[in-house]
């Protein structure tokens, strides 16, 4: 035995309900304090503290201290991608207790995935970018074409700043609800930020839901040539 890496270890980390709750919360991309996470996960602060430090040791979370607060966030996009993957399997194959609540439809339509947009609209946006030749896949790397760069600049995204960062510019991220790719990477993040700046979208507090304003939805669909369903 003992071929390949120790998958039981990280799976156990995700496998505890309290920890899974916290990780799901952190998929919003925001960094949260120990007490916030404790509250949301329904455990005491001591317990949460213990869990969070385990997740940190396991490399799933990255803590940052600010004053007397300690903020935890997902360690990197790989973690976010993995979690989306698990969600995909859990949703498709998964537990029968899957009751589709009222929030569910909104969640499928548009939500935050770590720091970029996910959901039906996000995959359509990704398809549009591919179809128009703004993005191409080369090997496993997603490349922004010249046309794509022009498109992004037109949308007031400062590509030079993004390029100088260490993080990859474009990445695919598999969407658990759609089972298709959407755009991740610093460009994916930049798009979401612009949407917020333009007030096309607003994040719904305490959830991963991203709600489009009436005019925002229209502008978004126009920009990416997405027809109304």
């Amino acid at each position: 035995m003992r071929e390949g890496p120790d998958i039981a270890y990280v799976s156990t980390l995700i496998g505890d309900p309290a920890r899974a709750n916290m990780l799901t919360l952190l998929m919003s991309g925001k960094a949260l304090t120990v007490s916030e996470l404790a509250e949301e996960a329904g455990v005491t602060i001591q317990t949460a503290s213990s869990h969070l430090s385990k997740l940190h040791t396991g490399g799933l979370l990255r803590p940052r201290k600010q004053g007397r607060h300690k903020y935890y966030a997902l360690a990197n996009e790989d973690v976010a991608r993995l979690l989306e993957g698990v969600m995909g399997l859990a949703a498709g194959v998964g537990h029968l207790r899957r009751r589709t609540g009222p929030k569910d439809a909104q969640l499928r339509q548009a939500r935050v995935c770590y720091n970029h947009l996910a959901g039906a609209l996000a995959t359509q946006m990704f398809d549009s970018l591919m179809a128009k030749g703004h993005l191409v896949l080369k090997g496993d790397d997603l490349i922004l074409t010249d046309a794509g760069a022009a498109f992004a600049r037109d949308f007031d995204i400062e590509l030079d700043v993004l390029h100088s960062a260490r993080a990859p510019l474009c990445r695919e991220c598999l969407d658990w609800s759609e089972r298709r790719s959407h755009l991740a990477g610093s460009l994916g993040r930049a798009f979401l930020i612009r949407f917020e700046e333009l007030s096309w979208v607003k994040r719904v507090e305490q959830t991963r839901i991203v709600s489009f304003s009436r005019s925002g939805d229209e502008a978004f669909r126009k920009l990416f040539s997405i027809e109304r369903p």
Copy 2:
């Protein structure tokens, strides 16, 4: 809380060491009996039986009865992909106990992932197919171009048979050691089968390792224009 699917449930399933061992074994793509899995995982048959039925309930495995044997295999490619994802994180970030054994180099070079080829050579093969325009990415779907179809037919792969199957023809699968895509789907499977038929490769028993013969390696590199390192 309780947004999105129950990720703790499937993670717990993978999180037990004995179950993780079995799943890793099944990544070879072969279906194995209860006793074989028990043996390899280092538990008794009763225990293994219990674990396997849990994995089945959780949708990770698909059992098939043949005579007085019961064969278990991974339920589908999604499961295989997820496991590769977990391996990627566990390897990169993962446990310090990560000691690179002698097998390790071979495993990184070429191994079986569910039913297709993975490892360094597999990602290079994938890159080659993309670079030559035999495959293109459209949205999240990997499309075999006309040129690609001709290429496959030249290699004596019966595309018509594959097309008629329900399973998708081409899929990407993220390679944990390379962190790049390799080819999955029924076409990926067909390629591996052809390599075996031509005796280019042989599977090493009891492992996921795929070893290339001297001439097989040469032919493979020539076919996909891969330079010797």
